[in-house]
């Protein structure tokens, strides 16, 4: 684009380490005037870390930031703002109980007599600003009462109000409906025409190709390549993003499924905001097969998992585990009916980190023999049982009395898997079972899931990792916008899946 001048922003060799993780490994990035530059990568590729460094929220261990060719330090968001950088965070930084105008002007308020907030002026300026960019927004509305798409526009207004000429958007479409996303692209194009330079973070190929001028692909904290949009294809980008060399294949015999053990019919589930998150979903998982659910984050997976395991009330439809209707039962009764559940987040849910491993392994069954009798715990039995399980599942780094928090992520996950599998469930729901694990632990979990399949359990795998779904599943369902939009056999190509996952199969008109 405007390559005659130097870039407005340059990141050189940015390196950011967290304990045990290299989040950014000498990443370079440049941004030209009036350009939309997309940062593409899988979850955990280091995209968010990079822009948080740029916005002064993280301090890089190495590397430098140049604005208009001059090195600057970003010690705080304040300095980023002063350097003309605005950011729309993935989770909005808005105060729900305040009005749009208050949120926009916060910390840069128009004043009367030095101390008083000139609210009318704030409303006026926000209205003018909104009008200038053709945003339909009421400055007097409380943020909690407006839609997510409008909230995002408020975030953009915040940046514009502060005179930003570089705008960072972190996964802006993750929370939007397709229509809202289209509106956002319209806005971004307007901004671009006005001379704004934009960094756009996404993992959705289709929208990156639609909006970006150049695309930088990150993988495992490293910059892989920067390509112009012209000539870039979904196939090519997907290959860069996923990387052939990391694809894990699991040895497994063809599935021999028998009777259905986990059956979902016409399931509809609402989210916290009271909007349908899962809509009219039906599927069955048979004994001896792994069914994978592929989808982009936030398309109803969490709500589906919760509804399957009794942690969220079902609006309509039924859930049956091993023939028993458990739709309205508690979590406990789901477990008793023969469900195993490896939860999405082992820190939040899967483990009581301050409990010992023995106690964690007894989490579902502490009220039953042998862990307790007549209300009395039997710690000795717990420890004996735990010792056996820890050995069987090769958990390293501690014994039955070790606190769960003291283990590495991989070993923690092994504890969760051990607990769920050792209960001999008929159906096993595995949600993101390898999130944040190293290769060794991933292989272990994968092998184990296949073994459980071969034992005759029905395994439902819900994962955001495409290669995981591809390498493990005997059938693949694609979830998009809370609906199952496609079903494939195990030999489907990654590209084909990717298109279905990003709504490529759904005609725009029907997507609502």
């Amino acid at each position: 684009m405007a390559e005659r001048r130097g870039p407005v922003l340059e990141l050189r060799g940015i390196t950011k380490r967290f304990p045990g993780v290299l989040a950014n490994d000498h990443v370079d990035l440049d941004l030209y005037d009036g350009e939309v530059h997309a940062l593409l990568g899988e979850n955990g590729a280091g995209k968010s870390t990079l822009v948080n460094v740029l916005y002064g929220l993280y301090h890089p261990d190495e590397g430098e930031i140049l604005i208009n060719g001059k090195p600057v330090r970003m010690r705080s968001p304040r300095e980023a703002i002063d350097n003309g950088i605005g950011m729309v965070h993935q989770h909005f930084m808005l105060i729900p109980v305040m009005t749009v105008a208050e949120n926009v002007v916060l910390a840069a308020e128009p004043r009367k007599a030095g101390v008083f907030l000139d609210y009318d002026a704030a409303v006026r300026r926000v209205r003018d600003l909104a009008a200038a960019f053709n945003f339909a927004i009421n400055p007097d509305a409380r943020v909690e009462n407006i839609t997510v798409g409008q909230q995002q526009r408020v975030e953009i207004l915040k940046a514009l109000y502060r005179g930003a000429d570089i705008l960072i958007l972190d996964e802006p479409t993750a929370v939007l409906t397709p229509q809202e996303a289209d509106e956002l692209f319209g806005i971004l194009k307007t901004l671009q025409r006005e001379g704004m330079s934009i960094i756009f973070i996404s993992h959705k190929l289709r929208e990156v190709l639609e909006i970006a001028d150049r695309i930088t692909v990150l993988r495992r904290g490293k910059r892989i390549e920067t390509v112009p949009r012209e000539g870039a294809t979904q196939d090519g980008l997907a290959r860069l993003m996923v990387g052939r060399e990391v694809l894990l294949r699991v040895e497994k015999a063809p599935a021999q499924p028998t009777e259905p053990l986990l059956v979902v019919e016409n399931l509809t589930v609402f989210d916290e905001r009271g909007l349908p998150a899962v809509q009219d979903v039906s599927f069955g998982v048979r004994a001896g097969e792994i069914v994978g659910i592929a989808g982009v984050d936030g398309n109803g997976q969490t709500e589906l998992i919760d509804a399957l395991s009794g942690l969220r009330s079902v609006t309509s439809g039924t859930v049956r585990v091993a023939g028993k209707d458990v739709t309205t039962e508690t979590a406990h009764q789901h477990y008793d009916a023969g469900l195993g559940h490896i939860p999405e987040d082992r820190h939040l849910r899967g483990l009581v980190l301050d409990f010992s491993l023995a106690e964690n392994l007894a989490l579902h069954d502490f009220e039953k023999e042998p862990y307790s009798r007549l209300g009395w715990l039997r710690p000795g039995r717990m420890i004996v049982a735990a010792r056996r399980l820890l050995k069987e599942f090769d958990v390293r780094g501690g014994g039955p009395k070790t606190r769960a928090a003291a283990l590495s992520g991989g070993n923690q996950q092994k504890v969760v898997v051990a607990r769920e599998v050792a209960r001999d469930p008929r159906a096993l729901v595995a949600a993101q079972p390898t999130r944040g694990l190293d290769v060794g632990a991933i292989e272990f979990v994968h092998r184990r899931l296949v073994e459980e399949r071969d034992e005759g359990r029905a395994v439902l795998l819900i994962s955001l990792e495409l290669d995981e779904v591809l390498s493990l599943s005997d059938r693949i369902l694609v979830i998009y916008e809370g609906r199952i939009v496609a079903e494939y056999g195990p030999d489907v190509s990654e590209q084909e899946l990717g298109i279905a996952m990003t709504g490529g199969l759904v005609p725009e008109a029907a997507a609502s």
């Binding site: 301050d354 009220e367 283990l407």
Partner: protein
């Protein structure tokens, strides 16, 4: 005030940072229960000891600066007033008799403090802050008194048990209100227990005050109730029953410490309570009813505070008067200090209750030699020391600093070849 949040992944050394993200809610507040656990693991016995020593040191400075008196001789006089010198074999004769009397007094107070300390500690383990010990204590006093006054013909042992049980039950009910509110509408237990304290205080004052329904009809000019009948009084096993010797309530308190430990660590109820306290979301996932446990933990906690009220009434007060209703706030709040300093462990609670019991008794007008130090000053000194203890014992980061310093020191020692195993 928010619901207790899921605990963060432990102290930094052990943190498992798989996916560092700014969105990982860095504000996630350590749940109370996880904090307690952290204290136990990090501080061990060292932090509370250091804290106590520091608090006494500051107290000594106060004495020195304001009165110019020797802090050591002041503390010595307080110590002598506690009767703890009874344990020294060289204290004999008359002095030993006095010491025994003083020690009985100290242990009387310790008994109460152990029970209110357990009350606070038990709720803490479920992630709840029971600041309502006062109300539960008052409820316990009045219920025990009523049962103690009624049924004068009942045999001794059943009467004692019935009266003490009534007190515990009353405490449980009073705290249970806060528990139910927490479980059903999510009302923060700190606010509701504070309100329940004052409601209990005024209802209690009304009941025992002038013309109140419980006032002793034979003493219309004193705001005091009738005395519990002889059968309900707890046996005195050490010292003169007429001079407030030590009653068997002391053993009740010791037993309560054991019960506290057993319920938490050896019953399925305790398992649930701890799971909810550490991580309500994981407990829910595990199939545990979080609300039910909030209620039960509050009720059990209240039962201990109510029991404290009953043993005081049945053991040595025998009547409820307006002063004891009003003084209850002191006792209940010291319970918080006891639980904090005792780090939630039975042994810790015992020793910190003994420390505060000794301080209270040693600085009382009756026991402190006024020629050495004015008891009125000393009792306020006690408050300052309590305040400092609570302030420093509750400071997370201070504890973490100490912990890290210790870990560093250890690593250093380890790296030296001699220190290797």
């Amino acid at each position: 005030m928010s619901e207790p949040q899921p605990p963060p992944p432990g102290p930094p050394e052990e943190a498992d940072v798989a996916e560092p993200s700014i969105e990982a809610d860095p504000e996630a507040q350590t749940s109370l229960a996880a904090r307690w656990d952290l204290y136990q693991r990090t501080g061990g016995v060292i932090t509370p000891l250091l804290t106590a020593i520091f608090a006494f040191f500051v107290g000594g400075l106060v004495v020195l600066v304001t009165t110019g008196k020797n802090p050591l001789s002041t503390y010595r006089a307080i110590f002598d007033g506690t009767g703890l010198n009874w344990f020294f074999p060289w204290v004999t004769g008359q002095e030993r008799e006095f010491a025994a009397e003083d020690l009985q007094q100290t242990l009387l107070v310790t008994t109460t403090l152990i029970l209110v300390g357990i009350a606070v500690a038990f709720a803490f383990r479920c992630g709840l802050f029971n600041i309502g010990g006062q109300g539960q204590y008052i409820a316990g006093m009045i219920a025990a008194l009523q049962v103690g006054v009624w049924l004068p013909d009942l045999a001794h042992v059943p009467h004692m048990i019935l009266a003490a049980g009534a007190g515990a039950l009353a405490g449980a009910v009073w705290a249970g209100i806060a528990g139910i509110l927490k479980a059903t509408v999510g009302a923060h237990e700190v606010i509701s227990t504070i309100m329940l304290n004052w409601i209990a205080l005024w209802i209690g004052s009304y009941l025992v005050g002038f013309n109140g329904p419980l006032q002793d009809p034979n003493q219309v000019f004193v705001p005091v109730t009738s005395e519990v009948s002889q059968g309900a009084k707890l046996n005195v096993w050490w010292g003169d029953p007429k001079l407030q010797g030590l009653h068997i309530g002391f053993f009740v308190a010791i037993a309560a410490l054991v019960v506290f430990w057993i319920v938490l660590n050896r019953t399925t109820l305790g398992y649930q309570v701890r799971a909810v306290g550490f991580n309500p979301e994981a407990a829910r996932y595990g199939g545990i009813s979080v609300g039910r446990n909030y209620f039960l933990a509050m009720a059990i906690s209240g039962a201990f505070a109510g029991l404290a009220g009953s043993v005081d009434i049945l053991g040595w007060l025998f009547r409820v008067d307006l002063t004891s209703v009003q003084l209850s706030s002191q006792i209940a709040f010291i319970g918080i200090a006891v639980a904090l300093l005792g780090r939630n462990t039975p042994l810790g609670i015992f020793f910190s209750a003994l420390l505060f019991g000794a301080l209270l008794n040693g600085t009382s007008t009756r026991n402190l030699d006024p020629t050495v130090f004015q008891p009125e000053l000393a009792s306020n000194l006690t408050l300052i020391i309590q305040g400092l203890v609570v302030l420093f014992v509750g400071a997370d980061l201070l504890i973490l600093y100490l912990w890290r310093a210790r870990a560093k020191l250890r690593r250093k020692l380890r790296s030296e070849p001699v220190a290797q195993r």
